[in-house]
Symmetry: C2
Subunit: 333 residues, 2 copies
């Protein structure tokens, strides 16, 4: 059986282009012990993928040249040599950017299509949801009545962060690109306000919408927005460094936060998070979030693009700020 | 009675020069209730003074134009209308850059010249000592066997930070400017190693002297050194932001740390401190440090320059990295 796969052909300098990828058809191997063959149904597209394309030490090893691009996905088991999985099971795993995969079952777990649409296991009920949950609660530590600001607010992580902060009784202000996204955050997700960084002045927006300053900032974007928020933080503020999508395609050094001495003046904290540290507590978090979804307090939003071959361009939607909610590819077969 | 005083004449742009100061002689007022007249003996020179010269919100209000420059000092009470103070008492207070001062007794406390030389109450037993104590212990949280790096290591705060980290059983590496300072840190203060940032490559030095990475970084300087250390931090590292003396005289925006995403990769924390938050615990800290001094575990080092009129240039020694230990002016009378 053949699999269509996107391989990393070349490490990008700056913004990835078509030449960074090889789109190939490869004959799949037969199954060794404790392996499954999976028909990949949905592929998760995440800002972190840009980092995995770079050489060098990070929180996980880079994708090797000539390897299938790493990606989370949801699929259906076609064959199995592991007694815990049988054909017809729906599973989450790191299948990569491809339409069929053969791989060890370690790290793969079953998902239930009756509890939620399959793509949701890549969003609220997957890594982005976990990132949001542990990042805002454990590191952000929002208290009732505090003001929480989130950047990349209309993205997979940001939408969940803001809604959890609302559940915790905070004033929530989102920063997102475009009127549609901003309207959605306020009208559909219950954010108290949203600042359109593409069409308005972020500093002015923060002044207007955070009259009592900022207690928690959950940052997905870095760059100028991080600097703007640093001018408005309160004493003992917590800044959760989840990502810096504005900087990932830089060919110059990352723009460090010029206003970081605001941390000193305000006895504030900036702390980095990586979701994998919380693996042991995923089930607890998933259960709590499922409860919030059932109660209508947590709304899921996915952005589905059809066709595996769209991958190189669909990935770029993240960096152009074009996705609206969790970005996934629905694989054609 | 007249007092010689340095007034802030003009806010500096970049490096302060002679024209930022008015050196005047002023007739002192007679004492109102609960005031003292003090003969100022030693004046504390601190990097933070540069910040107080700027306009705008910070952790304390700026010095006003035409006001005596703010400074801590130690002096002798000449007259008092407060029953708690009598002529001949030695006191610590915010007397400003002058040789005599009349001021309310609020915030003034007695010091004992028999326990320690008077200038020491501006160093180890004063604000720099308190800054070091609470910054390294409460925010840095060094654990036995961890590696602690301190920048501005030969300064008033850095010398104390490093010695406390040694007392706590850490490997301690100082970053300082010049061979003399580096030799002193290792040979006299017991640092495990010192990196001479003026004559050697800091990144290379960190690699050599921190073979197990950096668990705690106590930063007094910011700029390139902060970025260099960020490349070497360990998982869950703590960066204590105490100051950024390399940036205080900038006429361009502060250089933010380009490598701040190392916080994310390493789930590390960067946190600002201001010593005044610990006022209630100063006595406990002073007692513990006095004990360490008595046991020979904590060595004090002051750099004394004579003459009030040297103030404008003596202050600049801090920014040129010329002071060796706590910088004080011994006032001539």
């Amino acid at each position: 059986m053949k699999s269509r796969q996107f391989l990393l052909a070349k490490r990008p300098i700056g913004t990835p282009t078509a030449e960074n990828w090889d789109y190939v058809e490869t004959e799949l191997p037969s199954l060794a012990e404790n392996q499954v063959k999976v028909k990949v149904l949905y592929i998760s597209l995440d800002p972190a993928m840009r980092g995995w394309m770079n050489e060098g030490k990070s929180y996980i090893p880079p994708v090797g040249i000539g390897e299938v691009m790493r990606a989370g996905g949801v699929g259906e088991v076609l064959e199995s040599t592991d007694p815990n999985f049988k054909p017809g099971d729906y599973v989450y795993g790191g299948f990569g950017v491809c339409d069929y995969a053969v791989l060890p079952t370690q790290g793969i777990h079953k998902v239930d299509p009756n509890l939620a649409p399959l793509e949701r296991y890549l969003g609220v009920l997957g890594m982005p949801g976990m990132t949001a949950y542990f990042g805002i609660l454990d590191t952000g530590q929002p208290k009732e009545g505090e003001t929480v600001v989130v950047s990349g607010a209309a993205g997979a992580v940001g939408t969940v962060v803001g809604q959890i902060a609302k559940i915790k009784g905070c004033r929530v202000v989102g920063i997102a690109g475009g009127e549609d996204k901003c309207r959605y955050l306020v009208e559909e997700l219950g954010f108290d306000a949203a600042i359109d960084y593409k069409n308005s002045d972020v500093k002015k927006g923060l002044k207007e919408h955070c009259p009592d300053g900022v207690d928690v900032f959950f940052d997905n974007v870095g760059g100028d927005i991080l600097d703007d928020v640093l001018t408005r933080i309160n004493m003992k503020a917590r800044i959760v460094v989840c990502g810096a999508i504005s900087q990932y395609n830089n060919t110059t050094p990352v723009k460090g936060p010029s206003n970081y001495l605001s941390l000193l003046v305000n006895r504030a904290r900036m702390e980095g998070i990586v979701v994998f540290d919380n693996v042991a507590n995923y089930p607890k978090a998933a259960a709590e979030m499922a409860g919030w979804i059932a109660q209508g307090k947590l709304v899921a939003k996915e952005h589905i693009v059809e066709g595996l071959e769209t991958f190189p361009d669909t990935l770029m939607m993240l960096f152009r700020g074009e996705n609206f909610g969790k970005l996934v590819i629905k694989v054609d077969h």
